[in-house]
């Protein structure tokens, strides 16, 4: 498993966590070679998770864009309503294999918290989720869902009270309870081996896209688009395509228009260490991590997975930011044209994909990973619409 992607990655953590990270890497290395483990992962992905998810031709959205065909990878149909299940299931099985009875997780939009809570329930593991107070207020339905699924939700009241601070709190819990607890990190961020591990579990998205593209239109897509916060649905989409000719586009959250750097660490950050990894980080002139701003709690993060940092530098993937208003516009497009409510996170990617489709000929195909469904975002979207966005 790669520890570094170019210069990025590594494990900048207190010594207390080192043995747990080593154990996690060893357990995954053994488990992936174990047919029984693989069989259980595949079976539960299918019977509990609902995989494979369909690749849907968005006919009306394509007509609206007036260019290349737009296809949606329907991760919003996965159990729990987002791609987060893929990783939560995999790591949950690893936790059980390591004999750790307790799961902790951070969550931004609440999707990862919900996924972890449902896996915890299904596997009989005690589950506690850290969530920033600001995010709890704007993603309330997910807080209720986690509680109904039997998880304890801890409000995080420090710092900007969003995803970054939730990760800090989860790491502190892990440092104290590492002998009995697995930290089920939800994105392709954090210390090695998490970025590799999460990408492994999410790569099912890209593998299915490749297979379904051949089945649906007899070719590979010309372009794949995914949103990037920490970057787990994006790395899952991109990784199986890195050695193909598919053009790859990652979309960060640009935040509100005018001045703000949003949460676009690849577009506006510089390399540094956040949460155990050397990667692009939004920071101020003193090397302090900057507060971020985005309408989508799930992309509202000052760092990004180290593999994305390297893919940016190497030029294999292009990264751009889409502002809040673009995401809200795309939310309405998809609702009105296709009858699908997307989460605000992938709405950023849909906005960019429509723009790309417009520039391309009708013979080309653009695949967008629709990483989650938008029920959780109704309050935010309705509020923005009332304000005239």
């Amino acid at each position: 498993m790669p520890r570094r992607y170019g210069p990025y990655g590594g494990a900048f953590v207190p010594e207390t966590l080192v043995p747990a990270l080593v154990e996690l890497e060893r357990t995954w290395t053994e488990a992936r070679a174990d047919p029984a483990f693989r069989a259980e992962l595949t079976l539960l992905s299918r019977t509990l998770g609902g995989r494979p998810t369909p690749l849907y031709f968005a006919r009306n959205l394509t007509r609206r864009a007036g260019g290349a065909e737009i296809w949606l990878k329907r991760e919003d149909l996965v159990h729990g309503g987002a791609h987060k299940f893929n990783n939560a299931l995999g790591q949950g099985l690893l936790a059980r294999r390591m004999g750790k009875p307790r799961l902790i997780a951070e969550t931004g939009a609440g999707q990862h918290g919900v996924a972890t809570a449902s896996i915890g329930a299904a596997l009989g593991l005690e589950t506690e989720v850290y969530m920033g107070e600001v995010d709890m207020a704007r993603q309330r339905p997910n807080v209720e869902r986690m509680r109904l699924l039997g998880a304890k939700v801890h409000p995080v009241t420090t710092g900007s009270r969003t995803l970054k601070d939730a990760i800090n709190a989860a790491l502190r819990d892990w440092i104290a309870n590492v002998r009995t607890t697995h930290y089920l990190l939800g994105s392709a961020v954090g210390p090695h081996p998490f970025p590799s591990l999460v990408a492994d579990f999410q790569s099912v998205i890209g593998r299915e896209i490749l297979r379904q593209s051949r089945q649906s239109f007899g070719a590979l897509p010309d372009l794949a688009v995914a949103c990037v916060g920490g970057g787990s649905n994006a790395i899952g989409t991109f990784r199986p395509m890195l050695r193909t000719k598919v053009a790859l586009l990652g979309i960060e959250a640009g935040g509100p228009r005018g001045g703000s750097r949003g949460a676009a660490s690849l577009s506006h950050g510089r390399p540094g260490v956040l949460h155990g990894a050397y990667t692009y980080v939004l920071q101020n002139r003193e090397g302090q991590v900057a507060d971020t701003e985005s309408v989508s709690a799930g992309l509202d993060y000052a760092g990004v997975g180290p593999e994305h940092a390297w893919l940016r530098d190497s030029g294999r993937v292009t990264y751009r930011a889409v502002h809040d208003d673009g995401a809200l516009t795309a939310f309405r497009w998809l609702a009105e044209e296709e009858g699908i409510l997307p989460a605000l996170e992938p709405a950023h990617a849909i906005y960019a994909a429509v723009g790309e489709a417009r520039r391309r000929s009708g013979r080309e195909r653009v695949v967008v990973t629709l990483s989650g469904r938008g029920d959780k975002d109704l309050e935010v979207v309705l509020g923005a619409l009332r304000r005239g966005a």
Partner: protein, 276 residues
């Protein structure tokens, strides 16, 4: 670096515990700093740790996290750190503790050189695991700064040996599973095998126990492992927030400096090599 090492060694040679208090650098505390450091020195501190605040201090508990947040709200900058190192370093040998990112932001070499020029003797980075320490060790060496490495109850005595061989200044032994501050009594883990491993691998390197050392009893317990001294952070920070009189600071450090560990029965203290 010489002065820093010498200060710790001389306390050890006298058979006294090495006491290193920790202060958060805060722009608003600049005017009182000299007085506080003098009081710490009078109370028996051998050296001082100055903490530079970081926005995401994952190894710190509530007390120091809040202190860092306040310091940043007060506009504390790297230049304040250098300024306060100059003030403190004139009174006690001074180490700087901060997370990896603020140093990396300035570049390893130039960041460390600026600390050295200001008079710091050592650098302590709690989120620098041994695997990532290589480039830091080289940069610290060329900046003539002692890079203090960490050990913890979670790791094996064998790993402690490797770390102790590369650590300079002292070995920072974390007392327990957890973050800094009160939450659980210090020394609940059995630190003695880790202290022995360090002394075996690097006989001259003092081992200092930190995290949760807050009074005489916890200091006694930490020293009972055979460690050479203790680091006192959160407990001092809590007192400073109450704006104590100088004599109270002196007394607080003195109670800790007067602690002696009783080595567990049947365990001889390792012999320490003298410097030729």
């Amino acid at each position: 670096m010489e002065r820093f090492d010498a200060a710790l060694r001389s306390a050890r040679a006298l058979g006294r515990p090495v006491v290193v208090p920790y202060l958060m650098v805060d722009r608003r505390r600049r005017s009182g700093l000299a007085g506080v450091v003098d009081a710490l020195a009078r109370g028996g501190a051998s050296a001082l740790e100055l903490g530079f605040p970081f926005s995401d201090p994952i190894a710190d508990g509530p007390t120091l996290e809040a202190a860092a947040g306040r310091a940043l709200d007060h506009g504390t900058r790297w230049s304040d750190l250098l300024d306060q190192v100059r003030v403190a370093g004139a009174r006690l040998p001074t180490a700087v503790m901060t997370y990896a990112n603020p140093v990396l932001y300035r570049g390893l070499r130039s960041g460390m050189k600026s600390l050295r020029r200001a008079g710091a003797g050592a650098l302590i980075v709690p989120d620098l695991s041994f695997e990532e320490a290589g480039p830091w060790i080289h940069a610290a060496h060329s900046a003539d700064l002692a890079l203090v490495l960490f050990a913890a109850p979670a790791i094996s005595p064998r790993r402690v040996e490797h770390i102790a061989r590369r650590s300079r200044g002292f070995l920072y032994l974390v007392s327990r599973y957890g973050t800094t501050g009160r939450e659980r009594p210090a020394g609940s883990a059995d630190l003695a095998p880790l202290v022995r491993a360090s002394h075996r691998a690097a006989p001259e390197l003092p081992v200092l126990v930190g995290f949760g050392v807050r009074d005489r009893a916890s200091a006694v317990q930490a020293l009972a492992s055979g460690a050479d001294g203790v680091i006192v952070g959160s407990a001092l920070e809590e007192r400073l927030e109450l704006r104590p009189r100088t004599t109270q600071i002196v007394r607080f450090i003195r109670t800790i400096a007067s602690a002696r560990g009783t080595p567990p029965a049947g365990v001889a203290r390792p012999r320490r090599a003298r410097r030729p």
